[in-house]
């Protein structure tokens, strides 16, 4: 399914953001919310994950239905998982486009990577 990704703050993301190596932060921000219709049409159920991908990268997220979302729009809390899908172009004024990102969403049986796994492929990620 093609969708527009919006990333942003949530209470759980904010409460965990000064404690990012804690599993609570990981659980709070590796979630992809979809409209109820999209959730059903992708055949998602409790415990099912989604693979979200675009030209910049891809990541697996826990899937949730959110009645406040219009069809075709997904919401991911701001953080390292969402930012896998964000491109570096800043439109000449500093910030990348964290919202309104074109993505593809697919159901998957793959697991969601935790924070160390997410950074494992990058340079010196051995603390």
């Amino acid at each position: 399914m093609k969708a527009i990704m919006i990333s942003g703050r949530t209470l759980a993301q904010g409460a965990g953001c000064e404690c990012k190596m804690n599993p609570d932060f990981f659980k709070a921000v590796s979630i992809c919310s979809l409209s109820e219709g999209d959730y059903k049409s992708l055949g998602l159920t409790d415990g099912k994950n989604v693979l979200v991908k675009n030209e910049f990268g891809q990541a697996v997220f826990f899937a949730r239905a959110d009645e406040g979302l219009p069809p075709g729009i997904i919401f991911i809390p701001m953080g390292p998982w969402a930012n896998v899908l964000v491109g570096p172009d800043t439109g000449g004024c500093g910030p990348p486009q964290y919202k309104g990102v074109e993505v593809e969403v697919l159901p998957t049986d793959e697991p969601v990577l935790d924070v160390r796994e997410l950074f494992a492929g990058i340079g010196r990620a051995k603390a």
Partner: protein, 435 residues
């Protein structure tokens, strides 16, 4: 010991009514804070000791060794980036500007990936602003556009805006009208009298249509804009004009979307247009508690609010060129000092991959993904809990952050003072190897 009137060091609301219960040098309980504030003020996940990466692994070292290694990295870099600054106090930020000048680097704040476009828009148009106190006491119309304070600034509505009783707004929520414009129905939207669901990326068009309608030029507006029928926009324009004192709060919904700073520029024009009919003010919902402060400090120290490059020997500002994300995307920096921020989590992946290829110095109380990429890690005291200093609320009010408990961790200001001292001592004495 009970400490009253404690200022919260999480978001730009800087709530100054917290009560802290302190016992044996630790904050045991925080009252009145929201979930975000109490989580931060209680403190957890601390970095224990300074560390320097040796043979691929972070090894504990003395603070002096960490300062000297940090200074060496900054001195050997051709164009170091000094990034972050939003979650520390102005006294530390001032030292940061000095250090950037000493090492001919670029100093940039988290504003560039948040409300930087707002700052640019405000430079274009000006800001008909107000204090949050004026909004609390006078505003009968509150507009939240592209922001979700119910989750990002949880006490905003209860202390300053939609739901609080004020001097001339004694009925609180019942006496105010609340408008929410967003691309999804947020928790904030559930508190609105009017919720307008627009298509993602259409803020500029919707704002333009409202400007025309407010100015009485609705004939030029098409039947539908941003997914909203013209009739709905026309009634929204009339609704806004019916306010005695309106306040527009805008968030990253419009700075992070298509149009970026032009969205802000247009929103400020809408507020100017509304002021032809009634009183309206406007304010960005600033995120980190002192992101407003770093803008103030940089403006008075360098003349520019963010993204200042000292490589030419004088302050140079050109967002899109000198902003942190742009520098990393272009590989135009060869070392980074990240303080009171977490670029590894909050930047796009390709820029994080580049960050992992250059030496990174981290100054922060908490371990986070930036720690994983760092060559030097320097743990600091939590400003507003373990160190005092000045911070600016989102409306530009300066408040004094208090020290609640003693700590063995040095403050950000102390760490930066020591790195500056080490830079001056080592300048010209070290041999740098080409990367």
């Amino acid at each position: 010991m009970i400490l009253e009137d404690v200022v919260c060091s999480f978001c730009g609301c800087l709530c100054d009514d917290l009560v802290a219960e302190v016992e044996e040098g630790k904050v045991k309980r925080i009252k009145r804070a929201c979930r975000l504030g109490s989580s931060k003020m209680m403190g957890h996940g601390r970095i224990k000791a300074p560390m320097v990466r040796k043979d691929g692994e972070l090894k504990e070292v003395s603070y002096q060794e960490a300062y000297d290694r940090a200074a060496e990295i900054l001195l050997c870099a051709k164009k170091p980036l000094l990034y972050g600054w939003a979650s520390t106090v102005c006294e530390a930020q001032k030292k940061g500007v000095l250090l950037a000048e000493e090492v001919a680097g670029v100093i940039d704040s988290t504003a560039t990936v948040c409300h930087g476009p707002s700052v640019i828009g405000i430079e274009e148009k000006g800001l008909p602003g107000a204090t949050l106190g004026q909004v609390k006491n006078r505003a009968d119309m509150i507009v939240f556009w592209g922001c979700n304070p119910a989750e990002a600034h949880p006490r905003h509505a209860l202390r300053y805006s939609s739901n609080v009783p004020g001097k001339f707004t004694p009925e609180g929520r019942a006496g105010r009208k609340v408008v929410v414009v967003d691309v999804r129905e947020t928790r904030t939207a559930k508190n609105a009298d009017k919720f307008v669901l627009i298509r993602p990326g259409s803020d500029y068009e919707v704002i333009s249509a409202l400007r025309m309608l407010v100015a009485g030029k609705g004939d030029f507006v098409p039947d539908e804009v941003g997914g909203i029928p013209k009739t709905v926009l026309a009634s929204l324009a009339d609704f806004l004009k019916s306010a005695k004192f309106g306040a527009v709060f805008f968030g990253l919904g419009i700075t992070h979307s298509r149009g970026r700073y032009k969205n802000i520029d247009n929103a400020l024009s809408l507020v100017a247009e509304l002021n032809a009919h009634t009183k309206f003010v406007v304010m960005p919902m600033r995120g980190h508690y002192n992101v407003t402060g770093i803008g103030q400090v940089m403006a008075w120290e360098t003349g520019f609010p963010m993204s200042v490059d000292f490589a030419r020997g004088a302050a140079y500002f050109n967002p899109g060129e000198t902003a942190a994300c742009d520098l990393l995307a272009r590989h135009d920096t060869d070392a980074a000092l990240i303080i009171a921020a977490d670029a590894a989590s909050n930047f796009p992946r390709p820029t994080v991959e580049y960050l992992a290829r250059i030496p990174v110095i981290q100054i922060d109380p908490y371990e986070n993904p930036t720690t994983l990429l760092s060559e030097v890690v320097i743990p600091s005291a939590i400003s507003g809990v373990e160190a005092e200093g000045t911070a600016y609320r989102m409306d530009g009010m300066a408040l004094r952050m208090r020290k609640l408990v003693d700590t063995t961790y040095p403050s950000d200001e102390e760490i930066l003072t020591n790195i500056i001292e080490s830079v001056r001592r080592q300048r010209g004495t070290i041999g740098c190897t080409e990367a």
